[in-house]
Symmetry: C2
Subunit: 235 residues, 2 copies
């Protein structure tokens, strides 16, 4: 089940410098000489969908750069239900709070098969002392997280259920235009949009009937972005 697999406990400069998503991530501006000053191993980890990457209150020793897949950040509400406060996509960073406090703020769970790099806080700090560019990148990642949160508040937590579901689908669709998007479980949809799973299910069914999305099986669907945009804007 929890098949966490550490692909490579990396200790040199090769992996980062040839990283396929490096232009997206934290180390985009680093020079070859900078990598030479990394003394703590950076782990590249592969996990399957459903794996918990860290939990609220866990000792926060590292930040996680997502190289593949999709991660949800969850908070527990007073009544025990869960709310998804953010989705972290490829190039995003989960657990940034490790840089300013000693425990994580959320539960991080892989929604799909995920590959990520686990960068110890010590490594970030070592690099920060040397390369001012990293500060800028870090702030960009903070800003990215904040923009995502703002988007959740403005787009996914206002309006009626139809609008919210449509906006969520558009959010997923703009990552793979015209390609099928992987739908969440209805429960996750509900936890993102602050609606019940039944309402999420009814709305998705309605979208399929009216053609706003087309089911292609295996929990995937193709979005009619024009139709969804109409729904998102007026209801």
């Amino acid at each position: 089940m929890k098949a966490t697999q550490i692909e490579a406990a990396w200790r040199g400069t090769a992996a980062c410098q040839s990283c396929g998503v490096r232009h997206l991530v934290l180390f985009a501006d680093l020079q070859a000489e900078d990598f030479a000053h990394i003394h703590t191993p950076i782990e590249e980890v592969h996990v399957e969908a459903g794996t918990q990457l860290y939990s609220m209150g866990d000792d926060a020793g590292a930040i996680l750069t997502i190289r593949r897949g999709l991660v949800k950040l969850v908070t527990l509400l007073p009544d025990g239900t869960q709310r998804i406060v953010r989705l972290v996509r490829v190039g995003g960073v989960a657990g940034l709070e490790a840089l300013v406090k000693s425990s994580y703020d959320h539960i991080a769970v892989a929604l799909q098969p995920v590959e990520y790099c686990r960068i110890p806080v010590a490594t970030v700090n070592q690099l920060q002392a040397r390369t001012p560019r990293l500060h800028q990148r870090l702030m960009e990642k903070w800003h990215e997280a904040l923009s995502t949160a703002d988007g959740f508040l403005a787009n996914l937590s206002t309006g009626n259920a139809r609008q919210r579901v449509a906006r969520l689908l558009l959010l997923l669709a703009d990552e793979t235009p015209y390609g099928p998007v992987r739908l969440f479980t209805r429960e996750d949809m509900g936890a993102i949009l602050a609606i019940t799973l039944e309402t999420a299910s009814r709305t998705i069914s309605d979208f399929k009937r009216t053609g706003a999305i087309r089911d292609v099986g295996h929990g995937q669907a193709v979005c009619d972005t024009d139709a969804l945009t109409l729904i998102a804007d007026e209801g």
Copy 2:
């Protein structure tokens, strides 16, 4: 109306070093010698309630440290209505995005008489080059903003209207325990909680009738935090 008043166009070290809220703000860790390297003026500005501090898309040349009062950050929804995505309190920073992009993400409006320091981005960058401690403070401010946003998502955008209003009141009350809190306009409450102003009004009226809050006039009320906590947790 828009009585923006620049109290002191500060160019020396005196004001910051004797700042009453310095332990809360960005410059907490700076040493005397650091202040000597500030070459761009930091303005201390006083504005009255209702003043717009900056607007979405405005050229973002500075970040704003709030020294007194309360500021709302607003985004415009596709349909033209407004949503308040964050409240910035004393010690908080508005417009952090100025550090990573050239325009502001929100509309910032003073909800009360506000005093703030306008710190040019250039000044922050000059100081960053010298004092690593400032990085840490900056990241704490980013984290503070992100935590606020998460709180809005988890506490103020879920549950029924009674719960949301109760949680908002508790949020305001924990700043001045047992003291009266200043209630927002019902419209602002609605924009924070994603409910209509009528529902906000009805709920506040109900709380007054049942004693969960006690009106003391002038838009202020004393909160029965125990009663409100009960409502916040179960409905």
